[in-house]
């Protein structure tokens, strides 16, 4: 049975490797060097990393308490919250971006805009777009993580004198560490690759809001396939590299 099931795993590997190696068909080495040194490429790379990191931090910070309460308690409107967290998954990112823009057209949105909260076409807009696309998922992931930790630990901690909050901090969170970390990496990757909402809300200005995925799209929009290929490879290297680094960092930290 192991052999047969492994085939499915290997099929996936082959499939994606095929797509990746196909990139080299359009690959142009000199183009690579030219592009890498281009200021705007470095900017896009930097921008993508920074925004993904900020968004991950924000999303996970909100997701930890949210996921915990949804995992442990039956708060009012729980079902509605559960359902609405599905939203970013169902509605396409572009639609999410459109919803954000439309919101800023409503009286409340206008009010915020006048107060200086106009995030469209700004760095803050990227954060908002990526956050909207990932927060719901982050909460679901963390709810899952907490679901897997038996309530028993918290119960015993409480009998030993820990307030519910103290039990959460000293017992639940440390046990959840690995799950939180794994979820964060997933969210970071998703934020890094976020395109539809970002392009709609923050636009495509080089050296301002052009993240890596947007840069790739812009290359295609200019029919510059060689540039697109190079940017895709950069993104892949970035993604894979970071995931390897983060995973190793965690293991070293935890003395695994």
């Amino acid at each position: 049975m192991k052999k047969i099931f492994s085939i499915f795993a290997y099929l996936q590997l082959i499939f994606y490797l095929l797509l990746i190696f196909s990139l080299f068909y359009f690959f142009d080495l000199s183009g690579l060097f030219k592009l890498i040194r281009l200021e705007k490429t470095l900017f896009s790379l930097n921008l993508s990393i920074i925004t993904a990191t900020i968004v991950t931090f924000l999303a996970v910070s909100i997701a930890i308490p949210s996921g915990y309460v949804l995992s442990r308690f039956n708060i009012p409107l729980k079902r509605m919250i559960d359902a609405i967290l599905e939203l970013p998954l169902i509605v396409s990112p572009a639609a999410l971006g459109a919803m954000i823009l439309i919101f800023f057209n409503t009286p409340l949105g206008e009010f915020l805009r006048n107060k200086g909260f106009d995030v469209t076409f700004t760095f803050a807009g990227i954060i908002l777009a990526q956050f909207t696309a990932t927060a719901g998922i982050a909460t679901r992931l963390l709810k899952s993580t907490f679901d897997d930790i038996p309530k028993r630990y918290e119960e015993v901690a409480k009998t030993l004198g820990a307030t519910p909050f103290n039990a959460f901090i000293t017992v639940t969170l440390p046990i959840a560490k690995r799950g939180i970390y794994a979820s964060s990496i997933l969210i970071w990757a998703k934020a890094l690759g976020e395109f539809g909402a970002t392009i709609t809300v923050a636009g495509t200005m080089s050296m301002k809001t052009e993240t890596l995925p947007i840069a790739i799209f812009m290359s295609l929009a200019r029919a510059n396939l060689e540039e697109a290929v190079v940017l895709i490879l950069i993104t892949l290297l970035l993604g894979v590299g970071c995931i390897i680094i983060f995973t190793n960092l965690f293991n070293r930290f935890e003395g695994v």
Partner: protein, 283 residues
């Protein structure tokens, strides 16, 4: 067991059939802005000749990429001339088949009702105006906008105006949509934008002296076409009286003369303008 194999076999043959493309149909890669008129045209053509017309819409550059990668397509119909130049450079269209279909005049587009009371190009330099143009590096109407700004405003006015630019949109259509969504107060786009969303967009004409050149929407046969004769028929149809009537419905300028009449002066059609380096990025 036998029935499973049979159905798989049938599935693949049908699939391959569709994939190979019947010789009695056309595939057109077109800029999204042309969707309404082109859809009507396609229907009319189908009715007239019985030929099925498949339309692939998207950003002009994007569908060009698709055409190149899929090696499919009979006609390329981008939203502006610069993409046709790009296609010609890449050798994916037959340059001798290129025709100009309709003409585009640059203008200022504002939110319906013109809440910021913009009346002229200079008004765009006023502080507090939120302005956008299409990305001049990639989109024709953006390049034209830069030329207009460079050749008509003083250094001071240019600086002020540049400060007001909060976004470079990535396509022609986006330049119009951004006004509909009220994300900006004004854009420099095509005069025809107001017909794309009459409820939300209003066109403020530029002074005739301010306009440097006018644009056009070109059409050409793709080198990948398997039925060049049929493709030619379509292009002829587009340029025929019937075709022109359909385009006219959508308020395009059908001839240079119509455009010149509206501007009040004669202007070069298309042509080349080199983008100054300092316009490459917004700061």
């Amino acid at each position: 067991m036998k029935s499973i194999f049979l159905s798989i076999f049938l599935f693949f043959t049908t699939f391959l059939n569709f994939a190979s493309g019947k010789s009695n149909s056309l595939i057109i890669f077109a800029g999204a802005a042309s969707k309404p008129p082109l859809e009507e045209l396609a229907k009319a053509f189908e009715k007239k000749t019985g030929t099925k017309v498949e339309l692939v819409f998207g950003g002009s550059g994007f569908v060009l990429s698709q055409m190149i990668l899929t090696k499919k397509g009979d006609i390329f119909f981008p939203g502006s001339s610069d993409y046709m130049e790009l296609a010609k450079n890449k050798g994916v269209v037959l340059p001798e088949t290129e025709k100009k279909v309709v003409y585009l005049v640059p203008a200022i587009n504002v939110q319906k009702g013109n809440p910021k009371k913009i009346k002229s190009l200079k008004d765009l330099a006023k502080p507090g105006i939120k302005l956008a143009i299409a990305n001049p590096e990639g989109v024709c109407v953006g390049l034209y906008a830069v030329e207009i700004i460079e050749k008509n405003l003083t250094e001071q006015e240019k600086l002020s105006l540049k400060k007001n630019i909060i976004n470079y949109t990535e396509s022609c259509e986006k330049t119009a949509t951004i006004v509909s969504l009220k994300a900006v107060d004004a854009v420099i786009g095509w005069e025809v934008f107001q017909y794309w969303d009459p409820k939300r967009i209003e066109t403020i004409p530029l002074k005739s002296s301010e306009i440097i050149r006018i644009g056009y929407i070109p059409i050409a046969i793709s080198k990948f076409s398997k039925n060049k004769q049929l493709a030619q028929y379509f292009i002829d149809f587009v340029l025929s009286k019937e075709g022109k009537i359909i385009f006219k419905k959508y308020n395009y300028f059908m001839s240079p003369e119509e455009a010149f009449k509206w501007i009040g002066d004669i202007k070069p059609i298309g042509g080349f303008y080199k983008l100054p380096k300092d316009w490459l990025y917004i700061h």
